[in-house]
C-alpha cells in the first residue's frame, strides 16, 4: 500500500486492517513469517508425543522393547544430531548477520554502483529458495581449500552452513535497510546540524537505534533458521533429521513415526519457544518506547 498522504480526518478501515497491513509489510521485509509460539503448543506437542508412544506401543510385539526404551536408546545419537543442528544455526546466523549488515548498509550507500550491487545481491538471494542455495553451496564449494600451502578440508556440514548463511544474509540485509529507513529523517538532520559526517551519523546515531528495531525480526529469523536446519538432511548432512530417519528405518517398526517426529519437534520447540517469547516481549517493549 503506497504512502500517499491522507486527506481523510475520518479513518475508513478499522485499526485491525491497518495492523494486518503493517504485519504483512513487516513479514515481507523480514522475509519470513512471524513465529508465534505459545505454551499451549508445547502441551499439544507433548500430547501428540504421548499419543505417538501409545500408538507405537499398541502396535508393537509384546516381546519388543518398550517405546520408551527405544527412544532412550536412540536419544544420545539424536542429541548429538540436535547439537549439530544448533551449531549449524549459530554459525550460519553469525556469518549471515555479519555479511547481511554489511549489505544492508551498502544498500543505502551514496555510491550508485555499491547501492545497486547490494540491492541486486540482496534480492537475488532473497528470491532463491533456501534449498536451492543449499544445493548451490554443497555442489559448488570445493571439498578442500589450499591456503598458504595448508590444505583445509571443507566438510559437508560447513558447506550446508554457508548455504544457510546466504538467505540469512539476504534477509538481514533487508531487515537492516528497513530499520535504517524507519529512523525519522529528523535524526539525520539533527546529526548533520551538529556537523557529524555520514559515517559518524551512521555509526553513532542511526545504527544504535536500528539495533532495537532489528532485534525482533532478527530473532524471529533465527527461530525459523533453526527449524530450517533440517533441510540439511536433504543434502546428506548427518543432522538430527537424517539420524531420525536412520533410526526409524533401523527400528523398522510400524507406527514409530509419530512418536519419533514429535520427539524431535519437542526438542526444537523447547529450544525455539524461549526465543519466540523473548521476541514478543521485545516487540512489545519496542512498540511502547516508540
Amino acid at each position: 500500500m503506497s504512502g500517499k498522504p491522507r486527506a481523510s480526518t475520518l479513518p475508513v478501515i478499522l485499526p485491525a486492517g491497518e495492523r494486518l497491513a503493517r504485519a504483512a509489510l513487516r513479514e515481507r521485509r523480514a522475509g519470513t513469517h512471524s513465529l508465534r509460539l505459545r505454551g499451549s503448543h508445547g502441551w499439544a506437542l507433548l500430547g501428540a508425543f504421548v499419543l505417538g508412544c501409545g500408538i507405537a506401543q499398541a502396535q508393537s510385539q509384546p516381546e519388543a522393547p518398550s517405546i520408551f526404551d527405544t527412544l532412550w536408546k536412540w536419544t544420545p545419537l539424536l542429541a548429538r544430531g540436535f547439537v549439530f543442528n544448533l551449531a549449524i544455526s549459530f554459525i550460519a546466523m553469525a556469518i549471515g548477520t555479519a555479511v547481511g549488515l554489511f549489505l544492508g548498509f551498502a544498500q543505502i550507500s551514496l555510491l550508485p554502483p555499491v547501492r545497486k550491487g547490494a540491492w541486486f545481491a540482496t534480492h537475488f538471494f532473497r528470491n532463491a529458495p533456501w534449498l536451492v542455495l543449499l544445493f548451490y553451496c554443497m555442489f559448488l564449494l570445493p571439498f578442500q581449500v589450499t591456503v598458504f600451502g595448508v590444505r583445509i578440508p571443507i566438510p559437508d556440514w560447513t558447506k550446508a552452513t554457508l548455504g544457510l548463511a546466504l538467505p540469512v544474509m539476504a534477509n538481514v540485509s533487508e531487515i537492516a535497510r528497513g530499520a535504517i529507513q524507519s529512523i525519522p529523517t529528523t535524526q539525520w538532520e539533527a546529526a548533520g546540524s551538529l556537523a557529524f559526517n555520514r559515517r559518524q551519523t551512521l555509526w553513532m546515531i542511526i545504527f544504535p537505534q536500528c539495533i532495537k528495531r532489528m532485534l525482533p525480526p532478527w530473532m524471529n529469523l533465527y527461530a525459523i533458521l533453526t527449524m530450517a536446519t533440517v533441510l540439511a538432511s536433504i543434502v546428506g548432512v548427518n543432522e538430527m533429521m537424517t539420524l531420525t530417519q536412520r533410526a526409524l528405518s533401523a527400528e523398522n517398526r510400524p507406527g514409530l513415526l509419530l512418536a519419533f517426529y514429535s520427539y524431535v519437534l519437542l526438542w526444537f520447540f523447547v529450544y525455539c519457544y524461549p526465543i519466540a517469547r523473548w521476541t514478543v516481549r521485545l516487540e512489545a517493549r519496542y512498540a511502547v518506547n516508540q
Partner: protein
Amino acid sequence: MTLAREAAGSSALPGSPGDARKDTSEPIVALHDVHQAFGDLEVLKGVSFSVRMGGVVCIIGPSGSGKSTLLRCINGLVPIRSGTIRVANFDVHLLKTDEEKIALRKEVSMVFQQYNLFPHKTALENVMMAPIHVLKEDRNEVRERAVALLTKVGLAAKQNAYPGELSGGQQQRVAIARSLAMRPEVMLFDEVTAALDPETVKEVLNTIRELAREGMTCILVTHEMRFAREIADEVHFTDGGTIVESGPPAQLFDHPRKARTRAFLSQIL
C-alpha cells in the same frame, strides 16, 4: 428541486405508504414500550415515542443510555425483546426475513458516526450503488440523480474521490447523499458529527438543517445541543435505557423538569 421533496416524490403512487400518511395525525414512526437486551444486559427498558411526518426529533443523553441501539431498532438492524415499532406501515418488530427488512430499509435510511462509506468505491459510486443493486434502477438515471445529490450537498467536485481522500465532514455529506438516493421517508442520524473535527461539523449540520427545513422526517441522536435546540420539534432525554424527559427544545433545555436532565445538561452546556 429540494432534497426532501425529490426524495419523497416518487412514492406518491396509490396505495403507497406516502398516501396513507397525508393525514399527518398518524405518526410515521411510533415506538411503544420497546425493550431490548444484549444477552443479560438490558439496553432499552420500555421506550415509547412517536414522530409525525416531517417532524424532527433529537435524542440526547449520556453514553450507554441506549440511544444508538434505539436507532438501530427502528431500522431493523437490531431485534427487540418486546414492544412494538411501527415505521411507515411496517411493523418492524415482526419483520423476520431479509426481503421484509430490505423493504423497510427502502423507506428508512441511516447515517452512521464513522466507517460509513465503502472505501473501495468513489463518492459517486457510493451514492449510486444502492439504487442500482437494490432498487434495480437504470444506471444512467441513477448517475444523474447521484450527481445532483452530490451537488446539493456541495461535493460535485469530489465525485471521483475515494472516501480515504475526503475529510470527515465530506465523508458524512456523501453518506447523507447516499442515503437520500434511496428516497427514504425517514432519515436516522447516529451521532454523525461526534467523530469530526470542529471545523467540519458545521458543514454537516448545515446539510441536515436544509434537509429538515424541506420537510424530511429526521431522528437524530446527537451531542450538538445548540443544533438540537435550533431544528428539533421535540427532544427526548434518555438515560439508563428509558426516556427520562421529553418536550419542545426550548422547554427541555431552558426549564428541565427532572433532576437527571438538569444534571446532564449542566455537564454539557
